[in-house]
């Protein structure tokens, strides 16, 4: 598939259809694929595609430096492509001003990333073109929120102790915020001090509040690409929090982020008959 990708990108760049290709390339240091920005046709040979292409490149579409490069072609997997829908619904990108190259993906990461076991977007939806065929289905995908269901078996006290432990380790490097395509605010709530909704110190209290804030801002927006959990230097499992809200949105409002452009995002909309059992 790498060959096809390089050919397509060379022609796109030569025809001037796009000014830059945002894809994966091998960097000198550790042989792992990382985001690269190819602007000259003969640099396309730096582009590669393999099962280590973990990064969600759509996060670059909201960066001023990348926008300044002109119309991009972007390489996306299925889980990354869902973020394009969310970004478009939130008026951050003009979907028509980019060329989306979808890669059929059988799963990334060795060992396989946890998100891939329950993946149902092996072929990216809403891509302008797809390279590669849908992988042979090796059996039904796992239920989407298996990891969360299992975590919720614990008692509330155990769960609180678990998150207290995770919060104690957090060093507030905000890698989770920067890799996330839906975290594009010019100045994040955590960078505001009048009032300081969240303390900047990495105390347990402030980290707890930070993870609640980050997670709740993903309600109905997180597309499950799992990058936040992959890049966390101290291994905080944020996927659990995102799954908690994704499941809530799915079960209560039948809404899955980034799957349908027409249905309005659930935060900012409301239902006259939202079912609940806890309001007195």
């Amino acid at each position: 598939m790498t060959g096809q990708l390089r050919e397509r990108c060379r022609r796109l760049l030569q025809d001037g259809a796009v000014q830059v290709v945002i894809g994966y390339g091998v960097s000198t240091s550790d042989g792992m694929p990382h985001p690269i920005f190819v602007r000259r046709p003969d640099d396309v040979d730096k582009l590669i595609w393999n099962e280590q292409c973990m990064a969600n490149l759509t996060t670059y579409l909201t960066r001023d430096a990348v926008k300044a490069l002109g119309k991009p072609a972007i390489v996306v997997k299925g889980c990354d492509a869902r973020a394009l829908v969310v970004l478009e619904q939130e008026c951050q990108i003009d979907r028509s001003a980019m060329h989306v190259i979808g890669m059929a993906c059988a799963g990334v990461g060795s060992p396989r990333a946890p998100k891939c076991a329950s993946c149902d977007v092996h072929v990216p939806a809403a891509a302008d073109e797809v390279i590669g065929e849908a992988p042979a289905q090796t059996g039904p995908a796992d239920p989407p929120y298996a990891e969360l269901e299992e975590f919720l078996q614990k008692s509330p006290a155990e769960r609180f102790a678990y998150w207290r432990e995770e919060a104690a380790r957090c060093i507030r490097c905000y890698a989770c915020r920067e890799v996330c395509p839906t975290c594009y605010c010019p100045r994040c709530i955590v960078d505001k001090n009048r009032p300081a909704c969240l303390d900047t110190s990495a105390t347990v209290k402030a980290n707890f509040a930070w993870h609640v804030t980050r997670a709740f801002h993903q309600a109905g927006r997180c597309t499950g690409c799992g990058e936040c959990t992959r890049v966390c230097p101290v291994g905080i499992n944020m996927r659990l929090l995102n799954q908690s809200l994704a499941r809530a949105a799915d079960e209560h409002f039948g809404y899955r982020a980034g799957t349908n452009r027409e249905t309005p995002p659930i935060i900012g909309a409301y239902g006259l008959e939202d079912k609940e059992s806890f309001i007195r």
Binding site: D64, A65, I171, Y174, N193, D199, V231, P233
Partner: protein, 337 residues
């Protein structure tokens, strides 16, 4: 001739230090695939094999992530303030890597050159670093390019070198000797230290190169990838920037010294709204320039120990080494890939 302690004696020593009321920190596998330096509650947590080096660094124990430097309390119309003193507790960092220990002398320069930051110096005095020489390295390691190596002694009080069935103990300072007094027995063989990573970049040429290429457009291309998070700075043994902020409620609060990172957009944000380094390329350039030109010009030592944490923790695989290779790499020096 060299001093030796048995493999299983080390956890025993840790338990003894804990019992003596010392604060002991060391590498520990907190989650599968995540080895971090943490404060050890019990010797069982100590992990000495199965990883190249922890993802974070030992600077946390001499320059904590957040630290109250003064407390204030409102009562009526008056405000009472009281300074906070750094905790007076001895601490032992056991199982540190040489590239971590070597960072401490580098940081000493900063925290003592014009204003003695007693929060740092008090902790530094009360800390004994027991370094464990490296047995292996990975692509991210480049300590040899900075005149260090798998058994570098800079910054360590005691250097342990793995030998079959135990560790050779080289006590380098009085603190180290005091710590290991009577714990070792003399034996014949001395440890054999495997070679470190090949030298990849020559420090001498980097400074001149950076001086010349300050306004080079390469920084912009290079920094396109950088997402502006703090993973590199916060896990780097030598990064030392901090921000001071007041946190409190109506009843009172404390003035806190927090880590800060030059890659954050807010790092140089002026109250006026102007930001001298508004783009990520300026911030990436600043990081490299500060580590390999500005700090050495002032203190004569590179602000880097080649530990590779920045590359391992960078979400997009940047890190200092790859940047140096792509930039200084064009300098006329033998560059092994």
């Amino acid at each position: 001739m060299s001093e030796l302690i048995a493999q299983e004696a080390l956890p025993g020593l840790v338990a003894k230090w804990l019992a003596q009321g010392k604060r002991v920190a060391g590498p520990s596998v907190v989650k599968p695939g995540y080895c971090l330096y943490v404060e050890l509650k019990s010797s069982a947590q100590l992990a000495l094999e199965g990883f190249i080096r922890p993802r974070n660094s030992i600077k946390e124990f001499v320059f904590p992530h957040h630290e109250a430097i003064c407390r204030y309390h409102f009562s009526g119309h008056t405000v009472e303030t009281e300074d906070c003193d750094p905790p007076q507790v001895d601490q032992v960092i056991v199982g540190a890597r040489p590239c971590d220990a070597a960072a401490l002398p580098i940081l000493d320069h900063l925290f003592t050159w014009d204003y003695e930051d007693k929060f740092y110096t008090e902790r530094r005095k009360a800390t004994t670093v027991v370094t464990l020489a490296c047995q292996a390295h990975d692509d991210a390691c480049f300590c040899t390019s900075l005149d260090l190596g798998p058994a570098a002694e800079q910054g360590s009080d005691v250097l342990l070198l793995a030998v079959p069935g135990g560790y050779e103990v080289r006590c380098l300072t009085d603190k180290g000797r005091a710590l290991f007094a009577g714990e070792t027995r003399t034996v014949e063989q001395t440890a054999v230290v495997p070679p470190g990573p090949p030298v990849m970049v020559a420090p001498g040429t980097i400074m001149a190169f950076l001086q010349a290429r300050y306004d080079d457009p390469m920084w912009a291309d290079l920094a396109l990838r950088c997402l502006g998070c703090g993973a590199c700075a916060y896990t780097c043994p030598t990064c030392h920037c901090f921000d001071i902020v007041d946190e409190g409620t109506a009843a009172g609060g404390c003035r806190v010294k927090n880590w800060d990172c030059c890659q954050f957009a807010m790092f140089t944000q002026h109250a006026s709204g102007h930001n001298p380094r508004s783009g990520q390329s300026q911030r990436q350039r600043q990081r490299i320039q500060h580590k390999f030109r500005i700090y050495p010009e002032k203190f004569g030592v590179m602000l880097c120990t080649g530990c590779g944490n920045c590359a391992r923790n960078c979400p997009v695989g940047l890190g200092v080494l790859s940047t140096l290779k792509e930039t200084a790499g064009s300098a006329p020096v033998e560059v092994g890939v």
